[in-house]
Symmetry: D3
């Protein structure tokens, strides 16, 4: 039994609140238990210089943690003058994952910037960020269709992400902070609503893991993503 | 009559929510109408190098806006690699204002860092930040007393802050964004709960202002601060 | 009696030397007692990107202190790799103050950059910088008129600035360094030659100040600015 | 048949040259076909501040590409003033992978810094870097044993890494640049000499991939790593 | 007799290997004894903004040392976030020296960027870099002529560079690291193949040097450069 | 005849004003014609970390140009966030030159920082900076002796510096800006008061120069330095 009373294959309570702030074209507060991430999608006409003239759009993401989202305060990246390696790694992952939801040709020469800001952290911030941003992105596309910035919906389907890991020899779904700190293997999996894999990032924190453990973790991840996609669809009233 | 239906000397609805996030020693969400700022107070033993050995503590503040807190997206300061002049100016003001609430000798060689992060902006973010942070700071001091990090309460009283301005010739209290953009004169005033002035920053955006207008603005500010202090006291159950 | 033998409402000796260096379109050395600031105004055709095509000009300012302008050496901002918060705050103030002297429409799409470099500091560097730069700006406008870069004089009047403060309970005009370090309240006031207020920045360094003290300080500031404007006019042979 | 004439499960020719430069405690030039990476291991007494007093050592890695290692010149990160996200991501991966080879307790309070500099790039630079650095690390440990900086060998076994991917529907081992650019799925796998998995990073560049494809890619990777470990052992004369 | 057994006027063995890497238009590994520098020349159409429209080309250079090219590891400039003064000084020298080989008019509006990366250092890295880059530059010009990017060869002749110095009162040619560290005077001389001087940089590290010593050092440098030019010509099969 | 009416071997009028500002231990305004540089010497107890415990002192220098010291405004290095290559090169030269005046052992573990700030530029700023700083350094040493921070005078003699160059085939002493821009060869020479050479930096801007021209330039430099040393001695009342 896990500290939180969850079963090994059980997600934390998931809440997806749309229109959480009012200026962004898509704005979602996503909660995986005590992890809370504000995801906004901002639409701008035009694309980065290297994409100009190709008739395609672009989706990019930035990630940040408020300094006191965590147990002890982390220095503010803006005042330190640069984003750390972990931040860059996560925002590159979010961007790649969301681009997999979209036909960039149909987006036209427009850019959507996703901002994921962690208000409170308890493990799984990157997977919550992807899951919440997917909904914010859908809202931004709807806004573009309503504004007639685009004619055809570029959406090819939802994506969601979840962490899995091996703690004391047992594969667990959706690690919270205390589990994440104690795990031997930590894996983040991004999948489409149709079950295709977008990204696997698995790391042995302690001892190496086996092919069998890999399979068990991916089984758990598939179950988790199915449930997350259901939560996204419910939030979107689909 | 103002666009929002307010009287010239009327504040927007003020909400102060304590314990908004769970890790910080003080955590307050403050709302002045649609302006929403998350203020956390983080306690750390020790002081900056230049203060060591003097037996005094330190209060410092950092301020940030989420990129899409505003109507159009602003570049993230962490990815641009530096904090802008406006940010530095505001966080210096917040720090000075909060230090005026505290007897630093009684704080001992401890540091409290205030983080003010704007989730949604509609004018008056710096005054909301000071007003909310004052409550977060009180909670952090209570935590320190409970933890026996300090023996005597360093609090000397509350501070609160409000903006006032002259729009189309009329002095108004608590400017929202559309008023702030259109004003001739913009003034931020920080005061103690006893009516003493901590800071006045008044700027002619359009034409110069007079001594009489200065007095009218300070009258409005006094009224606003009295009401904000009442809201702080209610939130603190005093 | 003040350390320098001055009356409470007495300025330090003010010297304004035009054409102090030879390349800039306006170049003024301003001295408030031992405070010496070199203010240059540089004219360039064109405006920043965000102003292009609006038919308006721009005035901006930068401020710096030579490392040994002060009692002990301060690190050079260029070698530390960024300008500090105090520097940014001051140069923003100088820019706002000087823009209040000018009809930016009449300036056409031209930019004037003001550089204020403190050669020697003894309190009041920002107010000296504004007062001296106003004269350098007039010289630059005259140069533009002579060069036929502009047809009509954009000048709407002079501005000048002075510090006032409360030291041991007494309101004083034009604080020098030792007074500035010891004061309870410090206020910088920028006014037009016609007595309109452009900016008030008042800060309680020690205990809060009252409405009555605010009025007394503004009375002193008005007197000081009147005398500074007279010094500017004399330097300009008006 | 692949452009290079290789079979789908065939590595490029692998060369591991020890003592490639003379100052470092370990210095290896590793070549995977036309990809050439210089890997040095530098030993220093002491550990980073956050590890002090714990009786453990540290392994860290830095990665860089010479500006013209690639088809077109990339700006030098030193002159741009920061390392890009891709660089940080890769050097974090290298560090994690090499720490999995070592019992940090047995390393004592010493630090080994791995530098991986790509002299020529043709796909797979990060996997070549890990494979070559593992050998440089062994040489550095031998040096430490000889110098009597440590008593017991901290080595727990070799690690090696290889890329696999799906190109036009076919799983391939050890992608070269033209294959990497055209692939649908790209996966980097780090394993120990005993077949345990240290890291899996798989990304869908085009369409999502399936569980079956994941298994086929991991099969290829296992074969590749076995051969790389053999090459490492041969280079080490084991 | 020198530690290496060389005569005072004897160069270390010089090796110039062309086509050392395969992507650059010119790629040379130059070795002066144990000093090894990889020099690449990269051709790009277009010139920096300040040169546009003048019908001239540009040659620029960047210099770097791999962190463990030296006896003890130096921090990587990319991760420190800036190039040091020594690096900037050297790359400015390399650029100036190579521009002296070229008629920039004949280069058309094209840019050649020289990258000099020190793989192993044993004194004289800047002079080796200039000598090797000169050959890489010739190869890049040949490539441009073959590609018909330019019609006429912009080459006006070769340049080469050598260090000379006074160690224990004796003038020596081509200092290696141990001599460089012990010398009283250190001089780098860049000359054309026709014996004209492009640059002299002589520094007294210990005691001042005389006009006679200057002459003796320049005599040695002339001899060294003659031999280096012969090595360049041989490498180029001239 | 030169534009300024000077003979080829004639210096511009040289003025050395001591005690130009009041806080620094040494403060000199040096003028070479229209070139004006403020040189201050700041004494601090202690040495940089890498020198600690060796019983030696340190002399270091920083150089800056006010943005409008030149014909057209240059961006302020502090706001650009880094010092340019030219700045770093010059301040390294100034530091090396001044260290040649001093027995660092006798300085004890103290640091003197020289700041050279160009108020107005007309060619030769680095040579004026060295010449003026030498006098400021003497004043700082005298201050240290008076304060009994040191017992024995560390001064070993004065240094001075001058530029020479070849303009239209003619060797000239002390180039002013228009000559500097037009010259074929530009050389800066630093010498001791006893005629020893500290530094030679000669660069062919146009065509290469010969050994004979080198000798002619050094003859001119010797004459110039002799006269500068006389001016230093007169300023010091020696």
């Amino acid at each position: 039994m896990r500290a939180s009373g969850r079963q090994p294959d059980q997600l934390r309570p998931v809440t997806i609140t749309r229109d959480y702030t009012r200026h962004a074209e898509g704005s979602v507060l996503v909660e995986f238990g005590d992890t809370r991430v504000l995801c906004t999608a901002s639409v701008e006409a035009g694309v980065p210089r290297w994409l100009k003239g190709k008739g395609e759009g672009w989706i990019t993401a930035e990630y940040g943690m408020l300094p006191r989202a965590t147990h002890t305060r982390n220095g503010r990246e803006a005042s330190r003058g640069k984003q750390g390696g972990r931040t860059l790694e996560i925002q590159r992952l979010i961007g790649r994952s969301l681009r997999a939801m979209i036909d960039l040709k149909k987006l036209g020469e427009n850019t959507i910037t996703i901002d994921c800001d962690v208000l409170q952290a308890d493990g799984g911030t990157r997977t919550a960020a992807i899951t919440g941003s997917a909904v914010a992105l859908v809202d931004a596309l709807t806004w573009m269709l309503n504004q007639k910035m685009i004619k055809n919906d570029p959406l090819t389907g939802l994506v969601a992400a979840i962490s899995v890991g091996i703690v004391k020899g047992e594969p667990l779904l959706d690690l919270e902070y205390t589990e994440d700190s104690a795990c031997d293997t930590d894996m983040n999996v991004v999948m489409t609503q149709h079950g295709g894999i977008i990204e696997i990032q698995g790391t042995a924190e302690g001892k190496p893991f086996s092919r069998e453990e890999t399979a068990a973790l991916l089984d758990l991840a598939e179950k988790g993503v199915r449930e997350l996609v259901a939560a996204q669809q419910q939030a979107l009233n689909w």
